[in-house]
Symmetry: C2
Subunit: 415 residues, 2 copies
């Protein structure tokens, strides 16, 4: 009995320049899990025939389904095909259909057909060809003992398309619907994992629904999972239970971002916004403009590092800067109030603080951050002390600002 159901193998020229192997395996993990399949093992090895051979040898005994990516293209000298042929004890042959595909691709893309391209068609005997709609290099699959193995290129778009067109249909055939894992993810702000665990009533989740946690600072991600009959109904129940106690902290669900949702809420509520950022340096603004559509609500954002900029753009009175300093509640209030007056937006939000590592004082240590929000209800301000390094203080400040905006927009939509 295999230990792993579904395993992923990625090969790369060099694990040292390592982001690539991680991002390739992330493409596979993401696509599989979205369709309810659960990879149990992910292995990355260097582009080396001996190492790929050892990996395939191992995985073909341990897994029922192996998805391999990399080592196939014209530059690779049929590395993965050689290793696969050796691991499965098959001869390596020129696959005529593959050769024809490569020729056609070269012809259609005005590339010369050279010996390196021909080697792309060198495959283990009995390999079944997999069409690559976006590139020269076809994939292939092999069936060995109890294990089905897919070999795909490493380029993200080619890989994704071939997973969808060639691998998923086979998974659907091999794994009955009731084995597929359904899941929900809730992204929560303002509660620690420990706190969330105590808030979820033990033993009250529907049978067969499991729960686990991960982190995307400062968000805590709660994952609910179920399979079998009526998995979705049981997840609906579980989600409803969780939202009763945690709903107030829900910033986004799977596939959504906190900033994207806040942007949509502002747009729905018909609220316009301007921002004044100091210690966050434009982070909040860049988050809100990552998705298209920000022009529907965002009027402007000022990163006012210099005091002069606070005076010019936000009309902060010099007296406040002299008397209280730029990191102070009066300054945050003046920034938000002045900006709202200047820009004429419904909301103006200001952030000023000390992100560190320098600039802290006994009165205002690193992590001291003031937020202020000006609206037709006046100016609301608050002081925070955030823990962590510069990047954490900046991120926490931006998320706290998003949380203020989310709550304001929800209130307006409810009124």
């Amino acid at each position: 009995m295999p230990s792993f159901d579904i395993a992923i193998l990625t090969t790369a020229e060099d694990l040292l320049s390592g982001d690539s192997t991680n991002s390739i395996s992330a493409v596979v993990v993401d696509l599989l899990t979205r369709h309810g399949y659960r990879p149990r093992c992910s292995l990355a090895v260097s582009d080396n025939e001996k190492e790929i051979f050892a990996a395939l040898n191992y995985l073909s005994r341990q897994a029922r389904f192996v998805i391999t990516s990399g080592g196939l293209g014209p530059g690779s000298n049929a590395l993965t095909a050689r290793a696969a042929a050796r691991a499965l004890g098959l001869p390596l042959v020129i696959h005529e259909e593959a050769l024809e595909m490569v020729r056609t691709w070269c012809h259609n893309h005005h590339q010369s057909f050279n010996p390196a391209n021909e080697r792309v068609a060198l495959l283990p005997q009995t390999a079944q060809l997999l069409v690559n709609p976006h590139g020269m290099t076809p994939g292939f699959s092999l069936h060995h003992n109890q294990c089905r193995m897919f070999f795909l290129p490493a380029e993200a778009m080619e890989l994704r398309t071939m997973l969808e067109q060639s691998v998923l249909p086979q998974l659907k055939q091999d794994y009955p619907e009731e084995q597929r894992l359904h899941r929900r993810t809730l992204k929560l702000f303002g509660l620690s994992e420990v706190r969330i665990r105590t808030m979820i009533p033990g033993g009250r989740l529907p049978e067969g629904v499991s729960i686990n946690y991960s982190h995307d600072f400062p968000l805590v991600l709660v994952h609910l999972k179920a399979h079998g009959e009526e998995a979705d109904e049981r997840l609906d129940q579980a989600e409803a239970l969780l939202l009763q106690v945690l709903g107030d902290h829900l910033m986004a669900r799977e596939g959504q971002t906190a900033e994207g949702n806040v942007g949509q809420l502002l747009t729905q509520a018909g609220l316009t916004l301007s921002l004044a950022e100091s210690c966050t340096g434009g982070l909040l603004s860049s988050m809100l403009t990552r998705d298209p559509g920000a022009s529907a609500f965002l009027n402007r954002a000022g990163v006012t590092y210099a005091d002069a900029a606070k005076q010019h753009w936000l009309k902060v009175p010099q007296a406040i800067l002299l008397q209280h300093g730029a990191v102070s509640e009066p300054c945050a209030r003046a920034m938000a109030g002045g900006l709202r007056h200047e820009s004429g937006t419904d909301l103006a939000l200001a952030i000023t603080g000390i992100a560190g590592p320098n600039g802290g004082t006994p009165d205002k240590p690193v992590g001291t951050v003031y937020l202020a929000l000006a609206s037709d209800a006046g100016v609301h301000a608050q002081r925070y002390l955030f823990a962590g390094d510069r990047s954490r203080v900046q991120r926490m400040s931006a998320f706290m600002a998003l949380e203020w905006l989310r709550r304001f927009a929800l209130q307006r939509l409810a009124d």
Copy 2:
């Protein structure tokens, strides 16, 4: 003879919530490579005794050195220790010294000592204890056949410290200095990998220096590697050769960022800067303020989405907006010129464009971006057409702006 020298094994509650396993293995890869050791294989499996057992069984035959992280803490029920004991055919025993460490830690941190904590001291017989200065859970090491295995916790800080204190000294003992891999990384902007390959004179690199490439869009990373005697001297030579042809495009080296270096150049040149961002939405500003010290050169940055903001903050004449539109060379020039006048900085840089996916026209398709730089030498502006999705157009625009600033500062420092 083992296939892999050094292998990494990470275990996690769930590969689905997958960033964690990637980031844990990245901690190990990063630390090892910085010290010249080259991990050849990285395996991630679910927190499941059977799967960890299969992985250890495999790796102990294939590698000389295995670094495992995860499955050790009080919540894990000695998962990894159980799997290791089984894989190596050893009994599991309460390790008295480990028990004492856990007791002391609980005492010092005012935590109660409960049975779950006691299980942390359940280790395979013959395991050597590894001190964990930052947490409750000690690590351990085992020697089996030709393979040395280290078992460490998954928390990043604990893992990093224990790698430094317990694993590196052993690596230094096992691997002679001449086997250690020395490397240099050059981060280049404005050239494709294909172009760089043609520019590097074939066969002219010093013997034993290998070269490979990776990508961090829009930068291309060139990695030079060598080991053995005089590796550093040979890398110096190779680097000098590359810089002769590519030096003009060097934005950063290993451990540096393009934006960090540009900030330092501006500071060295004594230049002050203000920014006006439209389609990049604050991305450039947030990059430049990620590192501390930005207040030495950055006066302000305005994300001027609305036309009114361009008029108020940047003094763009309404006539230009009406006649040419916000995405135009005249507007970019007016943004930079107006901002420089308003802020009194040496430099004012403006970005305006269409990041997409909407807003393109036949004349100005998605990806059209204007950059303008105002200085005492007047206003210089240029139109670009960048390829890719919204995120790529935004990133490419920000990097092109960094490139302008880099060249300006270098010129001033050379004058």
